[in-house]
């Protein structure tokens, strides 16, 4: 039932959100990560995301399955390729019966994605090129 995708196509945030709507759910929490201009004194111009796509999708499945087993719906999409300022890099959405669990699970998924899913960013900043930490 859940939808997980890693793709170079720009994220269609509204279409991803619509996948979460269902009469059985009362709360939908989404997180969208966008390309931010400033990190302290460092100015970012663009970000290139790359992935180990087969493993990344397997890892996303491992994260999403236990949340869905609790009755929620999970939608995750991550973009790869060349992104400009304000472009959406990632969408994580959870629909659940009640809002507290939707918040908890959405935050768990993005926090865990950021350590366990093989995707990397390469920032082109005004002063240097940096691989994400």
């Amino acid at each position: 039932m859940y939808y997980l995708k890693i793709s170079p196509t720009p994220l269609d945030v509204h279409a991803l959100y619509e996948k979460l709507k269902d009469p059985q759910y009362g709360g939908i929490v989404t997180f969208v990560g966008t390309v931010r201009q400033w990190t302290g004194d460092i100015e970012t111009q663009t970000i290139d995301y790359s992935a180990y796509p087969e493993m990344a999708e397997k890892q996303l499945n491992k994260l999403a399955a236990p949340i869905e087993a609790k009755g929620a719906r999970v939608v995750i999409a991550h973009r790869v390729g060349h992104l400009d300022l304000t472009d959406e890099a990632v969408f994580v959405g959870v629909a659940a019966a009640h809002r507290a669990e939707a918040f908890e699970w959405c935050q768990y998924l993005i926090d865990t994605l950021k350590t366990e899913v093989p995707i990397w960013k390469r920032e082109t900043d005004t002063d240097a090129v940096r691989w994400g930490d």
Binding site: L113, K114, E116, W120, R122, W131
Partner: protein, 81 residues
């Protein structure tokens, strides 16, 4: 035994998307990073921070045997999201 290792992010930029590596007979997961560090001392530190994946799963057990048909990858610290 020769294996092919997939590399990503800064490691892929430095060494290419794949490298071939000779391992002793009956190798285990624990043999891979030291052999790579010997072959590519310039990226010793980058290799140290990477995690090993076999058949698209992070390796939890260093004693896991490695076969020539396994898909082996080194995963630098991820930075998606």
């Amino acid at each position: 035994m020769q294996v092919t290792i997939k590399l990503f992010a800064m490691l892929g930029e430095q060494l290419g998307a794949t490298v071939k590596l000779d391992l002793p007979a009956a190798p285990t997961a624990a043999d891979i990073k030291p052999a790579l560090q010997t072959a590519y001392p310039a990226v010793r530190q980058l290799l140290a921070t990477a995690r090993l994946a076999v058949n698209q799963e992070f390796v939890e057990d260093d004693a896991q045997p490695i076969s020539a048909t396994d898909e082996i990858a080194l995963i630098p610290p991820v930075s998606g999201g």
